[in-house]
Amino acid sequence: MAQSLELEGETTQLELKGAGDGRLFAIVDGVAVPVRLRQCFPWSEPHRHLSLRDEDDEEVALVEDPATLGEESRRAIEHALAEAGFVLQVMRVVSIEEEVEIRQWKVETRHGPRSFQTHLDDWPRVLPMGGLLIRDVGGDLYLLAAPGEMDRRSKELLWAFVD
């Protein structure tokens, strides 16, 4: 079933446009409304149930399945999804050291090397789709998609944090 946008009782086909600079627009009554994408289930169902919200954070439309959108709209939403759902993907763990109140991590991510800190009593979260998610003290998220397939040293360092 195609996604639709309900506006005061009328149902119209949802049309989306990407500006090529990171902005996404929903076409409402022929007017391009800038929207932001929020994943309703970033880990349980990252590619479906996407909430499109305007500048006041009001929902303009809820896209249950992008596959039902038109070609251009689907491309636009996929592009926006890549940005909104971006998290740093850890490929290798270089070191984990405990200090007084923080745990200091040095990792290699798919996007470059990174150091980050977690509270001592904050533990990696096991995701429904598998893998681990770590949230640092600044709020950034780090995804370890397959800890079991990492190099030996990373696995040794992660051993205490993985079941």
């Binding site: 500006a19 600079d21 990171g22 902005r23 800038p34 932001r36 994943q39 970033p42 500048e55 890549a82 940005e83 909104a84 759902g85 971006f86 998290v87 740093l88 405990e98 200090e99 007084v100 109140e101 923080i102 200091q104 991510t109 996007h111 470059g112 090397p113 990174r114 150091s115 980050f116 800190q117 509270h119 009593d121 533990w123 640092d136 003290v137 600044g138 709020g139 950034d140 998220l141 051993w159 205490a160 944090f161 079941d163």
Partner: protein
Amino acid sequence: MNQDQEIISRYIGQPARLPTELRARIEREWGNQPVQLYALADLDHGLRLHESWLALGPRHVALARPAGNGVWNVHSVERAHIQAVQESPGLSANALLLLGVPDDPPLAVVRYTQRQRGAFENIRFVLDEALEGRAVEPTDPDRVYADAVARPVRDAQALVAGRQSAVILRLLRYLTRYRRELTLGLTAAAVVTLASLVPPYLAGYLIDDVVRKANEGTMARGAAATIAWIAVGAMAALYVLRQIAAHVRLRLMSVIGEWVARDLRAELYEHIQHLSLSFFSRKKTGSLITRVTSDTDRLWDFVAFGVVDVSLSLVMLLGLGVVLLSLDWRLGLVMTLPVPLFCWMIYRHGESLNSRFIRAWRKWSRVTDVLSDTIPGIRVVKAFNQESREIERFSERNEDCTDEANEIHKMWTTFWPLLMLAVHSTTVMVWIFAMPRLLGEGSPLSAGVFVSFLLYTTMFVGPIEIIGQMARTINRATSSAHRVFEVLDSEPEVRDVPEPVRLTPVRGGVTFENVTFAYDGVRQILRGISFDVRAGELIGLVGPSGGGKSTVVNLVARFYDATGGTVRVDGVDIRQLDTGHYRQQLGMVLQDPYLFHGTVLENIRYGMQTASLSAVVAAAKAANAHDFICKLGQGYDTVVGERGHTLSGGERQRISIARAILHDPRILILDEATSSVDTETEREIQEALERLIAGRTVFAIAHRLSTLRRASRLFVIEEGRLAESGTHRELLARPNGMYRRLYEMQLQLQ
């Protein structure tokens, strides 16, 4: 380098400030106008980690991207062309867009992780304010950037972990005030060590130089007996001396440890009392309590035993090595060579246990998570009939945790017997090497030397164990010391000037002169508020949540100092006042009144310990509290429990009003004092408040506007500004006024 910059360099691994040459170049391109704020955009368009900078000046914004070889491409945009600023937040990637003419491409787009968000929000705030026609001109971009980036780490751990030796030395300085006792304790410990070394030597001497000679007939039996008895007596005396020294050492060092822990606790608690409210908003209560209790207790253990044990074990091992090698270097080598290996094995064992401990800690947290979820939420569990599921969840985690603990037990119960076997193996090796020599083959070895040797070998185990665990002991002590020093090194943000003014008495006039306030120095919570309150006025503060009402009263109470402008009390700048003396003349009644564990009487007298019982009863009567207090089992002497949990919200509130009445403040702050009680209780509290406010300057925050009808004036605070002010009647007369709108909305809801 300030502390925030140190945190950025040490932990975060990104530049602690905008590169100097880049900043100079941007400022040159702007016609020598200064960079006012900047932020690091750490993601590029392809969402790879990367370094770009966004800098804000009085008339420009510049985006600098690296062009390789240390060269920067700088693209400047005039602020006059910016028509909107938009931020798109994501899970970890955010984008800030500077928009010009509608439908045109953005003037600039930068992407950054959450770590940089505070710094970008500062820039966004200044640009948004400018678009609203309000100028904000930050003056210290390095400090603001470092504060924004380092804050999450600083809030988690307020200091950069220093070198262990420096921390231990600082801790040991607390011992210097007990120099005499410490010297005595250390001397006693040294006596214990030395006295332990003598008996094996004496045993060897007796066997070789007395018993053997007497048996061979080279010494008269009488003389031999005399020497032997003297030696046995000396040995007995040594053991007695050793135990006396051990008693002195244990007694003195544990007492000194207690004194040091007491001093640290006292210093810590006193310092905590003087810290500003912002410190408490950053730190969890539990974490502060732990520092005063568990951490100081752990430091007692370290000072009382760790310091002496570690240093004496080193001396003991060294002493044993020297004695054994000097007795017989061949057997000495057999015994001493494996010692470093044993210490290393214990260290490695500790390290591998450490990973196990982290794992067990994580699993234990999962158990406590279930408890802290379900016990406070037991009504929901029962209402949804989820008891079986919760029992299963707990059992599974409990089992998992037990398995992990048993793994730890398996490790140490295997390791220690094996280590002892290795230690005993060296003794066997000593026998293997010694036996032929005792039987006359090779270089001779006397029975006495051999017996001494055997006795010395038994003394190796204790020091090896202590040295092997030294790293762990020192780590634990350093962590605790760090936690304690972190608090001691925190500076109060509100401090008195060297010769503060005492207003005797405070009359109660409060003036705000163009007051601005920002917790982070940029994003303003109050934006240029000015008003003049005469002594004795009742001022109602109204407006939407988050508008700045509480910040106004926090500044009146001097919990914080204004970032800009001046707050005056009776015409004197509040920063010039003696804060303690000023607060004695200030009272507060809060939405959630806080009662201390103690009796009703102690709680009412909290601000005035010397008040007579008659004065207490009079205050309670004025607060409409006397009747219910008399109905309590033990009247005014009833213990109210922790935070007054044995009383209802309305009863706690009336006790807090009685406390305020007895305190007799000149300036009174009522923060939603009646919002969480039923109508009948509210009526009683309202009556009590009316008695309380008579003759004082009162700032009252209330969402129920009807409670403020009697206010002398009402201040409507919205988005940090004084949007409207006047009497209830005057404000209602404004056709499009905010107060009128809020009032009508509340009437409709009723």
